[in-house]
């Protein structure tokens, strides 16, 4: 990932002081993001060597084509989960915007770009509605977005009813899935990379991004240090709606059809990818390059298992186990480590950083 190197030190900023007692190399390599990226590389290389046809010309193309909407939605979802909130309605927003695109283009003869703009605006509004309830009414995002999960899916169902919209016209329909030159990459990865860089910069290199982490660590402390908590959350949910809508336009064009169940269940894949990528569900910790690696890990596993002749249920089981395993590892290992290093690592810590915080004081006793 191109974002990997510049981003990693920023993610370390959220750590406590003792984290800095380790060397730069250790900090870069011994974290969740690095573990996920390593797992991705290992799985990818293993599949290349052992799974028949995985090295074929279409594998990466298909993989990116299928997982593009998940990758897109995972970007704003990362920021939302870092603030400690969650957005379960993204797949329904995707469905609603795909429905809007379909109705406008096929039934009302609008051109694809203008329909896409309308759909994205609609998506942003749907996201802003979530954000309004969460940020300004003060409702828990889990409950609100379960409600809007049903509501927005209902809007899609109401819009297209039992018909199946298909037959998008024009050259623009095939653009997102066409390859760039002779490479294995479909065009859709251009907007994905642009958005990934933008979201990476936003999260890790702006004061807005710092406030996102601060909110995740403590709403109240963030408020008292001058962060506009409500506005930040409203912006994040609006972004999430807009990006989900963009994914919806893509899905509609890619499959050249829209049905009421377009994208159902995507929200769970998005959240699984984000959490697998090392973002803490409690908020305050995570990095965008880890999330991208997490989603790609799921995508590679999926495609490798499919080529190996396994059914989709096996990948379901594996995603589930990875999800459970990764949270248990991230919550449980630090506690075990907290018991061990008092003897093993601590002396080194004291010699390097004489006075800093609880950790060293405990050692001194």
């Amino acid at each position: 990932m191109s974002t990997a190197t510049p981003v990693a030190p920023a993610s370390a900023e959220t750590r406590t002081y003792p984290a800095y007692s380790r060397s730069v190399l250790a900090r870069l390599l011994l974290n969740r993001e690095a573990a996920v990226i390593a797992a991705l590389v290992v799985v990818f290389l293993y599949a290349l060597g052992n799974v028949q046809y995985f090295d074929g010309p279409l594998t990466i193309y298909n993989l990116l084509k299928e997982y593009a909407p998940i990758l897109l939605m995972a970007l704003p979802m990362t920021l939302i989960i870092v603030t400690g909130e969650i957005d379960l309605s993204v797949a329904s927003t995707l469905g609603a915007s795909a429905a809007v695109t379909g109705v406008l283009v096929v039934d009302h003869d609008l051109s694809v770009p203008s329909a896409a703009v309308v759909a994205i605006v609609v998506g942003a509004l749907l996201g802003a509605l979530n954000g309004f309830f969460v940020a300004y009414v003060g409702l828990p995002s889990l409950a609100v977005t379960i409600g809007s999960l049903a509501l927005y899916r209902g809007l899609a169902e109401g819009l297209i009813q039992d018909k199946r919209i298909s037959g998008f016209p024009g050259a623009l329909r095939t653009w997102p899935t066409e390859r760039i030159g002779d490479t294995q990459y479909p065009n859709i990865i251009i907007p994905i990379i642009v958005l990934a860089v933008l979201f990476g910069l936003l999260l890790h290199f702006t004061s807005f991004g710092r406030s996102v982490f601060e909110i995740g660590l403590s709403d109240e402390a963030a408020h008292f240090s001058g962060v506009n908590v409500a506005r930040t959350k409203l912006i994040l949910f609006t972004l999430s709606g807009a990006v989900a809508a963009l994914a919806g336009v893509y899905v509609a064009l890619k499959s050249n059809s829209v049905a009421t169940d377009t994208g159902t269940g995507f929200e769970l894949k998005v959240i699984a990818g984000v959490l697998l990528g090392g973002v803490s569900i409690f908020g305050g910790r995570g990095a965008l390059h880890g999330v991208i690696a997490g989603v790609l890990l799921i995508a590679v596993l999926n495609s490798a298992l499919q080529l190996d002749g396994q059914g989709s249920e096996v990948i379901q089981i594996i995603i589930g186990l990875l999800l459970v395993g990764s949270v248990i590892a991230s919550n449980f290992l630090p506690r075990i480590r907290a018991l061990l290093p008092r003897r093993a690592v601590a002396p080194e810590v004291t010699s390097k950083t004489p006075v800093n915080g609880d950790h060293t004081r405990k050692v001194a006793q």
Partner: protein
Amino acid sequence: MSTSTLAPSQESPATRALHTVLRSRELAIVIVLGLIIVLATARRSSFVLSADGWRDTLLAPSILLLLAVGQMVVVVTRNVDLSVGSTLGITAYVTGKIFVANPDISVVVVFLAGLAVGAVIGAINGVLVTLFKVPALVITLGTMYVLRGALTHEVGSDRMNAQDYPAHFERLGTQQVLTIPVLTIIALVVVAAVGYYLHTARGGRELYAIGSDPDAADLYGLPAGRRVLGAFVLCGALAGLAGVFSAARYATAFSGTGSGIELQAVAAVVIGGVAIFGGSGTVWGAAIGAFLLVTINRALPILGISEFWQGAVVGALIIGSIVLDRVLSIRRTHQLVEARDHA
């Protein structure tokens, strides 16, 4: 009501009970539910007044009732269980398997088997959540995937059909005692038992305490881990029972049985006024929420709203009810603050 902490009530127990009912959050949904039933019946009298309509009105919510009660017990401890849909699917299938292997087996044994399978799954969730101290949302999202995947792997495109279940078991799905369906009676008994336990028993009150402040409950010495584990076991067992219900009612089970119903269960709980972050709400509320959710789906086409807008109505209902809860809680805080300042 929290007003009782301010001064001992001067009212007689009867008026106090009346006031509790009138002020309760549940009354709002009861009124909405009543209105929907009355309007739908006015439009088409067979909605409730015919024999079939009456049976459907009572029978249709029975499965979601069980799930909502179990979910409520977990939600009140500030957790959530998203794996109930997968659990339901598994026990519906296991029920079929048992009958295929042994067609003459007693129905009671099958019900117990469903409860047991569900309880084991609930225990797995509970142990993962309490032992490793990881958020239930993520764990049960994971087990939801794993269990559904395992079921699909086992079942494949196969399915249990009407001929796989013996006739006496299928009859149970529609059987009525005094015009009330048997399944609904069982579900209501569960609602009453769990509601009574949560309202009066020490263990039940401790669940509320854990949900309203886990750290305080821990410092106070409540066995938080054990209680939360118990809540998950109960939730899983009830989901297992719901699977047996589903098999009895629809006489079918396949790899997709019950998928997506976990969100309905959470929705029923939220509509019923249970706070998603724990510590408040009642089983009665969750049960009425489940009733409302199922009834509204049946009533909307009769009320002239196209079935395609049902999802939107349900979503608006969920959001509306949490907004209502928020408004009520702000008002109550104001009242308490005023009462304190005047004291």
